[in-house]
């Protein structure tokens, strides 16, 4: 029987020949990812249920990447990271990326693939809703809670329901001013904030194939903003090259059968896409950027697992080179690898770090989630008042970046950079 890529991966992980949408199956996890927010509670559940001396099911497959509350004076946050440290030592975990040491990475969803833990055809569970990011490399990846994660930690398995697939085909030649962010914001705007609840969102077509891996990650990252269980893009040569450069571990890519059945098909011509934003307070509040010229901004923010990758900073730098920002502009590279890239990557011979400095951006922060989710009061970039923010992050919920009075507009790094220059929401085509 023909199956989608999501169904095939789950069938393999369940040792079954065939699985059907709606079926509840026990699947084997290839990777369990956790961080400093949900790791302590997950470990709490694991030790409560399996015993204080229990060992994780496979220490090579438990990856702990603290990233949320790192650069803060908050004592409780430090205590939580210390708890992770103790656990990693007791369990002799090889993949604990410890803050304050050279192994520290930054945001888990960018670090996980960069460190070679994401492989096509595999199953990844993570205690974070944006775990769906990793479908960009042809894996099945989804977010779970602490109780489920505690269960995986002890058994390596989880009972899950096979999701029906919504398939999005985006064809045509992608214009330079359109980024992955514009594609996914438009799709979420169309299907709604809960338009993909329980479903797999599979993306394909020439416009998707043309995207760099990091841009594909932006798209899959936001599947959860439509309620999706996972986002997924079939692996291609770019995927295989990315993965092989980062891990020697073997893997078996899987692909949708050409005649597989899906719950719903959506087709788009990428030429109809425009640089856009999501208005407060929902990622589904789609509007073309050009229609919001009157929205005056106080702040621009470039960072997070969605919009803090090297491609995101390159896009912003293309706009900002030789110009000055007119609002406070916060830059937070997602990971150490991205931070290094900012110094080495050049446009017209000028390093990105210099482009941003000369444009008047605030000093680049060390990699972490920072103000993407507000966080402790001393978090870099956190809102405290009525700041109007345009951001490359993924959520603009009420209070998401700290203050309930600070409205957040989500956009691509091109649009955020163009808006930082003018101080109003601006279509980047004005500068390209």
């Amino acid at each position: 029987m023909s199956m989608t890529i999501t169904e095939k991966i789950l069938a393999r992980a369940a040792d079954k020949a065939v699985v059907m949408p709606g079926e509840n199956i026990w699947v084997k996890a290839d990777i369990l990812l956790t961080h400093d927010i949900c790791g302590p509670g997950t470990i709490g559940v694991f030790q409560r249920e399996f015993g204080r001396d229990a060992k994780v099911w496979d220490r090579e497959r438990v990856v702990i990447i603290p990233d949320h509350f790192i650069f803060t004076k908050d004592e409780m946050s430090h205590r939580n990271v210390e708890g992770l440290r103790t656990f990693a030592r007791e369990q002799a975990l090889p993949y604990f990326y410890d803050p304050g040491t050279p192994t520290y990475k930054g945001v888990c969803h960018v670090a996980l693939p960069q460190e070679g833990h994401v492989r096509p055809g595999e199953v990844i569970f993570g205690t974070d809703s944006h775990t769906c990011t990793h479908g960009a490399l042809g894996a099945f990846a989804t977010g779970i809670g602490n109780t489920d994660a505690g269960f995986v930690m002890g058994t390596g398995k989880l009972l899950i329901k096979v999701p029906p697939t919504l398939r999005f085909t985006v064809s045509g030649l992608k214009p330079d001013y359109i980024m992955g962010k514009d594609i996914i914001l438009r799709i979420i705007g169309d299907i709604g904030f809960e338009g993909a609840t329980y479903c797999a969102m599979e993306f394909r077509g020439d416009a998707i194939a043309a995207l760099a891996i990091e841009e594909r990650m932006t798209i899959c990252n936001m599947a959860i903003e439509a309620g999706g269980k996972n986002g997924i893009i079939a692996p291609d040569e770019k995927t295989l090259a990315y993965v092989r450069a980062r891990t020697p571990k073997p893997f078996t890519p899987l692909y949708s059968d050409p005649d597989c059945a899906v719950a719903k098909d959506y087709t788009y011509d990428v030429a109809t896409f425009e640089p856009c934003v999501a208005k407060p307070h929902s990622p589904a509040e789609y509007a073309p950027a050009r229609e919001l010229k009157d929205v005056k901004l106080d702040r621009a923010y470039i960072g997070s697992c969605t919009g803090g990758k090297l491609t995101d900073f390159i896009a912003a730098a293309v706009i900002l080179q030789g110009k000055r920002v007119s609002v406070d502009t916060f830059l937070v590279p997602a990971t150490q690898e991205v931070a290094t890239g900012l110094a080495t990557e050049k446009i017209n011979g000028e390093a990105l770090t210099n482009i941003f400095k000369n444009a008047g951006c605030l000093d680049i922060a060390p990699p972490s989630c920072a103000a993407c989710l507000g966080g402790p009061p001393d978090t870099f970039g956190r809102t405290h008042g009525r700041e109007v923010v345009i951001s490359t992050t993924n959520r603009n919920f009420l209070g998401r970046m700290g203050s309930k009075d600070a409205p957040i507009y989500l956009a691509s790094p091109l649009t955020v950079a163009a808006s930082a220059v003018t101080g109003r929401i601006t279509d980047p085509r004005e500068f390209l």
Binding site: F69, D74, R395, L398
Partner: protein
Amino acid sequence: MAGKKKSVISNQQSAISNPKSAIIRSRVYVVGDNIDTDQIIPAQHLNLVPTIPAEYRKLGALALSGLPADYPPFIKRGAAQAEYGIIVAGRNFGCGSSREHAPIALGAAGIRAIVAESYARIFFRNAIATGEQYPCETAANLRTVFQTGDEAEIRLDREEFVHVKSGKVFKLKSLGAVMPVVSAGGLFAYARKTGMITA
């Protein structure tokens, strides 16, 4: 600590472990559509670890503190728990983050059940896996009938939700395939019962 967690489940014995005979009667707190996890428990409080009993209680005292200011207070100033045992919600309750702190904060605040038009997937799953509360669903728009403070009764055996004052009865959707997990009392209990884990 096992003690705290077990007591949470056993308080709700009638709700979670034995749905066929359960009746939950309480005052309701009414919220709108798309109540996201940042409104249920704002991110700055995620430094609290739910498996530590004192922090579990603190999460309860902070539940729904991210709601817009025009909502009536969910928890009275200085109180540890809400006066409500049931939340009435619209569509897509619990959307956003996978933080289990969300159903836990509501459970610690005394919420034993939610009746919503629909749920975000991870919240629904976390409510069941933790056994913190019963995520009931109904096709009806309850917000034309229920106001915060109204008395309500959930009859799990008959899959009914009753507005006590008016006597109006709303049909709850069946929990279907997750029923065995709910009946067992959460993911771990279910896995033990079905032999997936032995300890």
